[in-house]
C-alpha cells in the first residue's frame, strides 16, 4: 500500500482531483494507469507480431522478397527521427519539472515536428509502393509486378497493417503532444504538476519502441 504521502517527496495540494487523498496518490495512480495502458498496446502489436512470425516461418523467401522491395534507407532515417523525438520528449518533461516552460515548449514542438517528418517519409514510401503496384493482399498482381512468389501480397498485407497501425499511433501521439504544448504555454504544467506530460511521454516512447521492432522485421529481414 502506498498511503505514505511523504514517500515521494512531491506532494503539493494544487490540482489534486476530488477523489484522491493527495498529489502523491494521484501521481502514483496516473503512472500505473498509463503503464497498464501500454501493456495493452504492446499486447495488441504482440499479436500481429505472432502472426508475422508464423507466416515468416512458413514463407521465409516470400518475406525476404518483400523486404527487398522496401527502401531500408528511408526506414533507417525514420528510425533516427523517432529516436531523436524520444529524446526531445524526455527532455521536455525534465524542463517542465524545472519550471523552464519555454524550453519545454520548444522540446515538445520539436517532437511534433519529428512526428510530422516521420509521417511525411512514410507517405512517400506508401505512394512509391502504390506507384509500383505493391498493394496489400489480393490487390497485388504478382504477374504485373514480376513477383517470384504468388502470395507476395500477404507480405504487404502485414507491411501495411503493421506500419499503418503504428502510423495511426504516431498521429494520435502528435495530437496528444499538441494538447500538451497548448497547456504548457498556458502554464498548466510546472514543477508541482506534470502527470499528463509524463503519461504522454511514456506513450510516445512505447510508440517509438514498437517502430524499433518493426524496422528490422519489415525492412532488414532476409
Amino acid at each position: 500500500m502506498s498511503t505514505d504521502s511523504t514517500a515521494h517527496g512531491k506532494t503539493p495540494t494544487a490540482h489534486v482531483s476530488h477523489h484522491f487523498r493527495d498529489a502523491n496518490q494521484e501521481y502514483e495512480s496516473g503512472k500505473q494507469g498509463i503503464w497498464l495502458f501500454m501493456v495493452t498496446e504492446i499486447l495488441m502489436f504482440g499479436a500481429i507480431l505472432v502472426g508475422y512470425s508464423i507466416f515468416h516461418a512458413i514463407y521465409p523467401e516470400m518475406f525476404a522478397e518483400g523486404a527487398k522491395s522496401l527502401d531500408w534507407k528511408m526506414g533507417f532515417i525514420n528510425t533516427l527521427v523517432l529516436i531523436f523525438s524520444s529524446f526531445t520528449m524526455a527532455i521536455s518533461i525534465s524542463f517542465v519539472q524545472k519550471n523552464q516552460t519555454k524550453k519545454a515548449a520548444i522540446a515538445m514542438g520539436t517532437t511534433i515536428l519529428c512526428g510530422a517528418i516521420f509521417m511525411c517519409i512514410k507517405y512517400f514510401e506508401y505512394t512509391h509502393k502504390f506507384h509500383l503496384g505493391l498493394y496489400p493482399g489480393r490487390y497485388l498482381d504478382a504477374a504485373k509486378v514480376g513477383a517470384e512468389h504468388a502470395n507476395l501480397g500477404m507480405y504487404f498485407g502485414f507491411y501495411y497493417c503493421m506500419t499503418g497501425l503504428h502510423g495511426l499511433h504516431v498521429l494520435i501521439g502528435m495530437g496528444l503532444i499538441t494538447w500538451l504544448l497548448i497547456r504548457t504555454i498556458r502554464g498548466d504544467f510546472h514543477s508541482q504538476y506534470w502527470i499528463p506530460v509524463e503519461g504522454v511521454g511514456i506513450f510516445w516512447h512505447i510508440v517509438d519502441l514498437i517502430w524499433i521492432f518493426l524496422f528490422p522485421l519489415l525492412y532488414l529481414v532476409g
Partner: protein, 535 residues
C-alpha cells in the same frame, strides 16, 4: 465509521436533469447508466432467444418451413444477433460494469474509481460500439455467428466490418474499465483496507480486470485484421491468398476463452458476498477463494485450444489443451467447496438474493462438470457442435452469470435506490427462472447426446418432444424475467424506504446511507477488520 448523511442529499439528487447524467463522472451514476443499457440489450437478446426457440418448437417436416422465422437465412441472422448481443453487450459488461462500477470503490472505502473521466469514456465507447453493432441490423444483417469465423466471414456479403468494428470499440470500453479497476484496487483503498481485507467481490473484479486488460487487446487486433481482410484482402486469414483461417480461430479464442472467465469470475464474487451474508457466518477459506480467482485467471490463458479440437490442430496440442482445461476445475471446485463449507452450520436466510446464489451453485455445478466432460478430448470430438455444448455454456453463462447478476441486483437494490423490493415477488421470479432454465436447457444435454447439431434451422422428427419441452421452458424463463422487471419497477416506484443495512451485512457499502451520498461516505472510513466479521 462514518454514519449516514442526515440531510437527505445523495448521489441521485445531488444534481438533476438528463445532462447531469450524460456528463457525470460519478461511478455510481455510470453504473446505473450501464444498468439501463445492459438491461435494454438483455431484453433485445432475450426476444431473439424466444424467437429461436419458437422456431424450433416443431420440425419443418411437421409444421412447414418458416413457422416463425421465414427462412434459414433469417434464422442464422437472429442466431448471430442473439449470440453477439448477449456476449458482448450483456454478459461481458454485465456484472463488472453495473455492480462493479457501483460497488468496487465503496467496497474499498474510496470516493470514486481512479480515473472517473475514463470511466465515463468507457460508457460512451460501449454505447458507440453497441450502436455500430446494432446498426448492422439496419444495414445488412450479419449471419456469421458471434465468432466471425473466417473464411465465411470474409466471403459473406453482409456488414461484417461494421459489426467487428463495433465489437472492437466495445472491447476498448472493456479495457478501460479493467484498467480503472486495477489502479483503483491498488491505489485508492481506504486506510486500513489491506488487500486481504477486501471483500471477495473486489478480488473477483480484480482478477476479471486483469483478464480484460491482457486478453482484449488480442481480440482488438484480430478484429482489425479481419476488417482489413475483408476490405483490402490482406490475405492473413484467407487460404486462397496463402493465409490460414485456423490462425483466426487461435487468435479469436485466445481472447474469447479468457472472456468466458471475464463473464463468470465477477459472478463468483457476487455469490461469495451473498453466501456469507445470508449464512450470517464468516466466509470459509477467504484466502483460498481470493487466490483461486487469480488462479482461474492465470490458467484461462492456456486453454483456448479446447475450442479447436476438431480444427486440425496437432493431436499433441489437443491432448495438452485437454489436460490444462481440466486444471481449471481445481480452483473452481475450491470456490464451490468453500461456499458449501460456509453454509455448514450457518444460520441461513432464504431471502431472494440467497435463492439466486444457491441457484447459481446448483446450475454452475452442472455447467462446470459438463465443462470437464467437454475438456476430455474424445468426448468433445463426439459432442462438438451439438446441443450438448449449447446446454453446457448456457448453464455457465445464464445459470452462472445471469443468476448471480439477478441475485446481486436484488441484494444491492436497497443500497442503489434506497428502496426495498418485495421479497415475495423476487422469490417468485427466482422460482420461474430456475425451473424454466432447467426445463429449457437440460433437454438440450440429451438432444446433444442424441446428436442434434447446433445452429440448425431444422431438425429430424426424432428430436421433436425434447425441443418442445425446451421451448416451453423458454416461456417460463420469460415469465420469470417479466416478474423480475415488475418487482424492480414496483420497488423503485413504491417500495418502502430502505434502512442503511437491511440484510445485516458487514461490508463497507452497508455502513453508509441508502442511497449513498455523492462521495460515498461522509467521513473516509478507517478499516480495522476483515469484511465478514459475523459471529
Amino acid at each position: 465509521m462514518g454514519h449516514s448523511s442526515a440531510h437527505g442529499e445523495n448521489y441521485l439528487n445531488h444534481e438533476k436533469g438528463l445532462w447531469s447524467w450524460l456528463t457525470t463522472v460519478d461511478h455510481k451514476r455510470i453504473g446505473l447508466m450501464y444498468m439501463i443499457t445492459v438491461l435494454f440489450f438483455f431484453f433485445v437478446g432475450g426476444v431473439m432467444a424466444l424467437l429461436l426457440r419458437a422456431e424450433l418448437f416443431a420440425p419443418n417436416a411437421v409444421a412447414g418451413v418458416g413457422q416463425v422465422l421465414k427462412s434459414g437465412d433469417i434464422y442464422n441472422q437472429v442466431l448471430t444477433y442473439h449470440g453477439a448481443i448477449m456476449v458482448f453487450m450483456v454478459i461481458i459488461p454485465g456484472i463488472p460494469a453495473i455492480l462493479g462500477n457501483f460497488f468496487l470503490p465503496i467496497h474499498i472505502g474510496a470516493k470514486d474509481v481512479a480515473f472517473p473521466k475514463v470511466n465515463l469514456a468507457s460508457w460512451y465507447c460501449f454505447m458507440f460500439g453497441a450502436s455500430l453493432a446494432i446498426g448492422t441490423f439496419f444495414a445488412s444483417k450479419i449471419d456469421t455467428g458471434w465468432t466471425f469465423y473466417t473464411p465465411y466471414s470474409i466471403r459473406t456479403g453482409t456488414s461484417t466490418v461494421m459489426m467487428v468494428l463495433g465489437a472492437f470499440v466495445m472491447g476498448m470500453s472493456s479495457v478501460l474499465t479493467g484498467l480503472n479497476f486495477i489502479v483503483t484496487v491498488h491505489k485508492l483503498r481506504a486506510p486500513g483496507m489491506t488487500m486481504h481485507r477486501m471483500p471477495l467481490f473486489v478480488w473477483a473484479l480484480y482478477s476479471t480486470a486483469i483478464l480484460q486488460m491482457l486478453a482484449t487487446p488480442v481480440l482488438a487486433i484480430t478484429l482489425l485484421l479481419l476488417a482489413a481482410e475483408k476490405i483490402f484482402g490482406v490475405g492473413i486469414f484467407d487460404p486462397k491468398l496463402g493465409g490460414d483461417p485456423v490462425l483466426f480461430q487461435h487468435f479469436f479464442w485466445f481472447y474469447s476463452h479468457p472472456a468466458v472467465y471475464i463473464m463468470i469470475l465477477p459472478a463468483m464474487g457476487v455469490v461469495s458476498e451473498l453466501i456469507t451474508t445470508f449464512s450470517r457466518k464468516v466466509i470459509f477459506g477467504y484466502t483460498a477463494i481470493a487466490y483461486s480467482s487469480l488462479g482461474i485467471a492465470a490458467v484461462s490463458f492456456f486453454v483456448w485450444g479446447h475450442h479447436m479440437f476438431v480444427s486440425g490442430q496437432s493431436s499433441f496440442a489437443g491432448i495438452l489443451f485437454s489436460f490444462i482445461t481440466m486444471l481449471v476445475g481445481v480452483p473452481t471446485a475450491i470456490k464451490m467447496f468453500n461456499w458449501v463449507a460456509t453454509l455448514y452450520k450457518g444460520s441461513i436466510r432464504f431471502d431472494a438474493p440467497m435463492l439466486y446464489a444457491l441457484g447459481f451453485m446448483f446450475l454452475f455445478a452442472i455447467g462446470g462438470v459438463t465443462g470437464i466432460m467437454l475438456a476430455v478430448l474424445p468426448i468433445d470430438v463426439h459432442f462438438h457442435d451439438t446441443y450438448f455444448v449449447v446446454a453446457h455454456f448456457h448453464y455457465v453463462m445464464v445459470g452462472g452469470t445471469l443468476m448471480a447478476l439477478m441475485g446481486g441486483l436484488y441484494y444491492w437494490f436497497p443500497k442503489m435506490f434506497g428502496r426495498m423490493c418485495s421479497d415475495a415477488w423476487a422469490r417468485m421470479s427466482f422460482v420461474f427462472i430456475f425451473i424454466g432454465f432447467n426445463v429449457t436447457f437440460f433437454p438440450q444435454f440429451i438432444l446433444g447426446a442424441m446428436g442434434m447439431p447446433r445452429r440448425y434451422f431444422d431438425y429430424i422428427p426424432a428430436y421433436e418432444t425434447l425441443n418442445k419441452v425446451s421451448t416451453v421452458g423458454s416461456w417460463l424463463i420469460m415469465a420469470g424475467f417479466l416478474i423480475s422487471l415488475y418487482t424492480l419497477v414496483r420497488g423503485l416506484r413504491s417500495g418502502e424506504k430502505a434502512p442503511m443495512n437491511p440484510w445485516g451485512s458487514k461490508t463497507l457499502e452497508w455502513q453508509t446511507s441508502s442511497p449513498p451520498p455523492h462521495f460515498n461516505f461522509d467521513v473516509e472510513p478507517i478499516v480495522t477488520a476483515g469484511p465478514y466479521e459475523y459471529r
